[in-house]
Symmetry: C3
């Protein structure tokens, strides 16, 4: 079986996990981007991701690969969630995890604090600060809000390795290229204040936040991660096409802040072109590797058509389930391993070229980008 032989994996985009017991349907509900109950007669296990979970996870709990979902869930309960979590994270064999701390629960249960995640995974854990989460906690008056969010972000991001934006979920990526006018931001902050400081969805405020993030990242020397491509049903897919960010990318280019386009799928070829065209743009494997299951090599191949080899980064985007760490890592090792074996068999590159590409995507690009 093709398997990527690299000394270390740096997971540059992930979330923490639940180590408590989860009901079967709650656990299954973390194997899909949907937050709704499954359609009649269907289960999230009956999917490309479900196949990948049943391929890679049962062996970590002492069952054969492809064990039925029911057997796997029974074995997981038998071992206990804490032990299963420990085994799954250990099998993922990650060296370093950059964890987005904007989400704090999954399936109604709290996520492990970063120190406990680090211990369970045997990995170095660093924080990625979620822009909108920080901003939603700011209760300054309208006139102060534009500055207060910058101060709050700078404070939150100090010691972190990156800032992450979920603009794609809140408004979509079709934003004007240039900064919004301060007066418009203050007016929108006033409207939000009167509405009770809820979830941030106003386009002007979100747009201001994006530029606030550019300023803070420029000051601290951090990259800015942006969710692009598929996600949960909050998102409208065609509005998450990273090409919609082109104007912003050009306007932010003088800042020198690296922009890391997360996921991208099914617009990963667009993300790859942006990474080739603009020195500041990087691109990500993300949850695509896990979610596309048997198709991981083909999708990785599509990403590598235009993405510079020094600008594609491995991540699991694991969230909630420790299974997703193992699946993300194993899919990457198997998928990129298989792709590069095919390339060599076809005469497209040498073994040394393949090894270098593998090490870069697995860890070195992230180390260089995040100064780890």
């Amino acid at each position: 079986m093709p398997w990527l032989d690299v000394p270390a994996l740096v997971d540059h985009h992930c979330h923490s996990v639940v180590a408590a017991e989860l009901a079967d349907d709650v656990l299954a509900g973390l194997l899909t981007e949907s937050d709704r109950p499954p359609a009649p007669g269907t289960s999230p296990f009956d999917s490309a991701l479900g196949l990948a979970v049943r391929r890679w996870c049962p062996p970590a709990l002492g069952l054969p690969a492809h064990a039925p979902a029911a057997d796997y869930l029974a074995r997981r309960r038998e071992l206990g969630a804490a032990e299963a979590t420990r085994r799954l994270l250990a099998a993922a064999a990650l060296d370093t995890c950059l964890v987005d701390t904007g989400l704090t629960a999954a399936g109604g249960r709290p996520l492990l604090p970063l120190t406990e995640l680090a211990e369970a995974a045997g990995a170095v854990v660093r924080e990625v600060v979620r822009l909108e989460t920080v901003a939603e906690a700011v209760t300054a008056t309208a006139g102060d809000w534009p500055y207060a969010v910058g101060e709050a972000l700078a404070e939150a991001a100090t010691g972190a390795v990156a800032v992450k934006s979920v603009l794609a979920y809140r408004h979509g990526l079709a934003v004007p290229a240039e900064r919004p006018a301060l007066s418009a931001v203050v007016a929108a902050a006033g409207a939000r204040q009167r509405a009770g400081h809820g979830r941030l969805t106003d386009p002007v405020l979100l747009h201001h936040l994006l530029w606030t993030a550019v300023d803070v990242c420029a000051g601290l020397g951090l990259p800015l991660q942006l969710h692009t491509g598929f996600g949960d049903p909050d998102l409208t897919l065609h509005l998450a096409d990273p090409s919609l960010l082109s104007g912003f990318v050009r306007a932010a280019e003088p800042s020198g802040v690296p922009l890391v386009l997360l996921h991208g799928y099914p617009y990963h070829r667009q993300a790859a072109w942006l990474a080739q065209a603009f020195p500041t743009v990087y691109t990500d494997l993300g949850l695509t590797a896990a979610y596309t299951g048997p198709r991981v090599s083909a999708v990785l191949g599509e990403m590598l058509e235009l993405a510079p080899f020094g600008k594609l980064l491995f991540s699991t985007d694991a969230y909630g389930l420790p299974e997703l760490y193992l699946v993300g890592a194993a899919q990457f090792r198997h998928g990129l391993g298989g792709l590069l074996a095919d390339w060599q068999a076809d005469g497209a590159c040498s073994a040394a070229d393949a090894q270098r590409l593998a090490r870069w995507v697995a860890a070195e690009n992230a180390r260089r980008l995040y100064a780890l």
Copy 2:
């Protein structure tokens, strides 16, 4: 040769066929989405679909696979169109066909009535009612029109298994999420009445029809099929991206009406995401399997990256030519058979997983969805 071993095929979206003799160029004209004469020096047989026709159909008429188009057409005439139709439909070996009756002719010749199609194909045939065709026959006054189309659709759909919308051809899929105002519908119906009740293309009327279909389908417990993706030159491709339906999908979700996104290509990955994100959304293989010829496994693989295995449905979208039934069925059996053989060889799933997925897509998903 990989071949899907499933007990039955349910073709959930197709049209009837011409059993009369057709001139060679008329027959060839039904092997392309174009309704124009071919460019100088080209023939519709010189395409991925043409290769698929010449692969699967000659053996059904006693010729070797890949026989030249001229030999195939000569043999077809020699046997007679009726006998050729019988042989081709029999070779398709379909168990059940859900037939869109909105089109009644192809190549200038009438399509077989459903009873004759059923007899020739040896298949159970059920009707799918085409929304816009029903509505175009309604000649009520403007004030009555909004209700009259509902009554006409309810009557037409009683006894049918689904309603189908061709909004993608008439306006594209970028519709507002919510129902149009009644006053706007009445005004638009008045304008249409004054213009002589022709082809329905007014965006407000089309939008009203979509919601009429939701109401009628909810009442009768039927799914609503929507054309998405490629089709004939009437259609503007990027306006047929199913992601444009996202707002409508969310607004229609409380009705519980299943929305079946037909075809989707080249936006089938977008359709698959919608099927994963929203319990009410299903997705379809459609004419893509036939039209992409040698590439069918790759395209099926792309669909299965995100589509829940319980929500992808086989169809031929055959229209006019009995060849398209055989080609659709054979392409599916060969293409999915090959894909699943590759998955197993790669260790991505067990044989039992592959068999279950195959049975679901081939027939069981359709049986569950349409309550067959």
Copy 3:
């Protein structure tokens, strides 16, 4: 190694090359669509295109395939740029090149005049006139401008084999279907005159130019090439989707002028559908074959899903570096050769079908389209 055995290659879209010595970083800068310096720690050689250059070019200079970039650059300097250029172009073995003369320099050095390119390549060279370049040289008064650009284009295109538009770079492809009003064109020409006749970016003028090109091409019996899909950072990717041209394609159809959609990637499936739906539309391999390196067969497969086999044309889109001629030709021979070998092994077509498709795409479609 699969290799397309065709008697000749006609490169229907390319540019001339620099035969002078280039500094290593300047040469590397011609291996990416970016016009910026590479990101820290990256080089354009570390890309799919870079792998393809290192696969095909070192043997033409007496080194083994996959020689390191530094070794290749050293050997190139040792031979001298003129000799290296001669060897690389000879190895490309092109029969005919249709050269876009709109660009006259690369990496700060002048491109070879067409006669010298023809001699170095041992190929017949014909000219493709760039629409916007011709128009930018017209300094007529505002009232005369609409006619003067037509006259200038007709003069420039006499003796050429096609006209090429780079509208995608200047405004994007979202243009109104119908011709702009003359009064609007005159007003825009006036504004441009007052601004000093610089780079043409006004949407009305660009739109007028497109129709001027249709008129001139109709008069001279020439095809009109249009850049679509990826390119350098001037371009906004989603605005280069060829589907945006649908209205224009329909409006221009009565003129009979063939519209050749160059490149298309990552919207090549959209371009292929347009080529199937509209007799006047043709589609192109373009720089995609070179830029996607190890993935060329997969991308070619995607193009051939819907593109009529008589309407896809080989090109290198080589620019600046003679390496790109050899890489484009070799990638095509290897990629299409591999794809067709796979198709035959799968039983999807006969050997005769594969050979015919190969000859068509390699040369005969271009000979028919450009009346060579």
